[in-house]
Amino acid sequence: MTGAPPDTQAKGIGARLARKEDARFLAGRGQFVADIRMPSMLDVAFVRAPVAHARIVEIEKPDGWESLVYTMADMAGVKPIVAASKLPGFQVSEQYPLAKDKVRFVGEMVAMCVAPSRARAEDLAEQVFVDYEDLPVVSDMHAAANGSAEGKLHAHWDSNVFLETQVDNAAAMADDVVSLRRSLSTSRQCQVPLEGRGVVCYWDHRLGRLEMTSAAQMPHINRTGLAECLGLDEGQVRVVSPDVGGGFGYKGILLPEEICCAWLAMQLDRPIRWIEDRNEHLSANANCREHAYDITVHVDRSGRLAGIDCDAIVDSGAYSSYPFSACLEAAQIGSILPGPYKMDSYRCHTRSAATNKPPILPYRGVARTGVCFALEVMLDIAARELGIEPYELRERSLVGADDMPYTNITNKLFDSGDYIACMQRAVEALDWSGWRARQAEATGRKRIGLGLATFCEQGAHGTSVYHGWGIPMVPGYEQCNARVTTDGILELYLGAHSHGQSMETTMAQVAHTVLGIDPQHVRIRHGDTDGSPYSTGTWGSRNAVMSGGAVAAACEKLADRLRYLAAHLLNVAADDLVFKNGAVATADGSRSITLVEIAHTWYRAPQRLPDDVDPAGLGLVAGYKMRPDMGTFSYATHACAVEVDTVTGAVTLLDYAICEDGGVLINPMVVEGQLIGGLAQGIGTALYEEMPFDDEAQPLASTLADYMVPGAAEMPPLRIEHMQTPSPFSSFGQKGIGEGGAIAPPAAIANAVNDALAGLGAEIHSVPISPERVIAALEAAHESH
């Protein structure tokens, strides 16, 4: 399908088709893990560590109820979670599903209690007495990285650093470059899907396997991990991911809770359920975004970016999570910090620090949100230093449309696009000059500021990318099992999972474009290891490209077979046939046969078919791999205007504009939904969301009253502009774009705030930009004058 123009029909690629999945959710009939009931099911509650670092001296089970409480000592033979980066120097952690000997973060599971209801299981959990002997707590990633922390996470390690990496593409720069250096940071966050994690599982004696339903983004990977830890064959584990209430990276992990529940289900031979509550999410699983950058940008006098030097630390928490490891963030920082820019020189040193906090997980955008913040804030500081507009400075270094495809300083192959035009459109959409005029009038207590941020977003990362980052799970080929059923329905089995991404609709649209079949007659089956091809799942903005590519490939192969059958049944040449309105027809439309009739003939009246027909029939597996497999690069510029109250420190978003390019859009409505949803999360990162930890690594925001996520009233007026530059490397020009909305907001908003505060000599260096941070910046500026 390479180079095919977007389908202009109302249902195929390019159509704003309403979603097939909506009806069940609007009726309240979605089926989430917690909605599943099984006879004799028992609920689990976990005893979780109240301290961040301690040796377990003794665990005392409640008198008389010992048989309802389990510790790691009971789970003999269950292996720990190990996610070892392949990069040299990586220090390996072992995370037992229930803590063994030591606890290493607040919320780590120590014991498991079972009862007919969660409340009664919690009653038992309250009666479990654990004697802890405190160990020195490592709460600060700088101390961990620099070796100055008193505590040590893992006894057999040399340091508190999972991995140290160095990218060194340093080159000579002109003598008169302007060099600007700052320390910048992003806070630890929680992903906060509205539905938490959850598990229902039991042992099926007929099939001789564990049936595990889990709110999971990557059911095949969970199956692999479960089998490894439990000592089962993969065939003895089925994982089903049903309707899932948002993931954002939080559910892209093998859970210790899954292992515990699976073990218990086998032990008791009863269905076992665990449903995460909000307190568990916030206090035991605050696990993303925490980066610190010591960054220097060098620009020449014209504003052209000459080079970057950066020393980055990621607070990776206590263990390496399966499958992404403790080092995905740092690996990304090293390779994507240069952003969409050209430069002469680049150096980046990273350390993945181990601390007594929950293990880090990727959150929508992964490290890109942090690196975009670090670099884009520096570029605006440089523009201010040189007295030019932020977009003028960027124009001098953005990769140009004529340069595409372009290999950047870290060997990223940018596929296509016009980054500069995109930025200009966002600037215009915001009415930048109009806001500059209003800004000039706001010289009192409330200041106005403008900011922008631009980035490119690698999606559908290929084999070489993940292999290069040392991630233990390397994606390869995505596949689709496709078949036309006896009644002419197209069934597509996918190994990935859709938990809000709308794949039941978008994948049907792809099928419609190839086979002319109405999307209502396409059944997407996803999230079940039974019947679907192995897949690394849903993450990294990969499914429009990878699952979309696999669906297109499968439909094209099916088209060949259908065309052959139709040609025989219609007695015409196969080459003349086209797919339209659920039928195969001659180009002039004079003769046609429906897919229903072909299916009926194939399955139930084969006497009408020729002898040489391929007996493989109307079902097949087809696969897709992008070549070159670097991935697609969507890109965008976010521009905004803010008002800063210099007395209260409050920041108000006045206006927001986005111009983005996701290549050929399968469904622009869905893309906008991803974009705006991501924007809300990005605004949370920029202004509200933070899980502070005290010196003893105690989480301090364990309810949604303390951990604030944006509501409807926190969203600014918004304009969205689309560009659609096809990727030359994907199957129909599509690009991954699911994460982009969450990447730029912290950078764009911080730049606007700094623009507003520039006249007062104050500068923000960390997100979220809370009133406290604004006031602190103003006070620091006041003291230095």
């Binding site: 079972v114 809000g500 999360q681 509501g711």
Partner: protein, 172 residues
Amino acid sequence: MSQSLEFPESNTVTFRLDVNGQPREINAEARTHLADVLREHCGLTATHLGCEQGVCGACTVEIDGVPQRSCLQSAARFEGRQIRTLEAFEDDALTAALRQAFSQEHALQCGYCTPGMLITARDIVQRLPHADEARIREELAGNLCRCTGYRGIVRAIQHVLETYPQESSDGS
């Protein structure tokens, strides 16, 4: 066969609830909140739990015609009240209009906040026929959505406010 297990005693109380027009006799621990009774005892799983603290709004139901959190009070306190969950609005014309608008405006992605959003949206349309965008956003402050960024939800409610015939919007 399953292992036979004994558990600590559980003290339950019996009370009657009026759920979606049906009388229900409930036998549950006194501490059980309404959402758990609706989900675990009545099998009505449209009501979702997101925080069990009254912040997220996923558990919003109608009590005597007014939206209310079902996660904050024990179920026994709702004796004598009329409880309606999203399941009660299967054939409700206003809810049908909202459903249609939600789909058209892409006001849902994962669908987890959706039942609570629909209950709140229905209340906004009935109570505030002249609500503008800012007012709708303010009214939605008690319902969190982590997927959509709210634009589709706000637009869907606006659309229904503009198009739904007011004289029949009492919905009862």
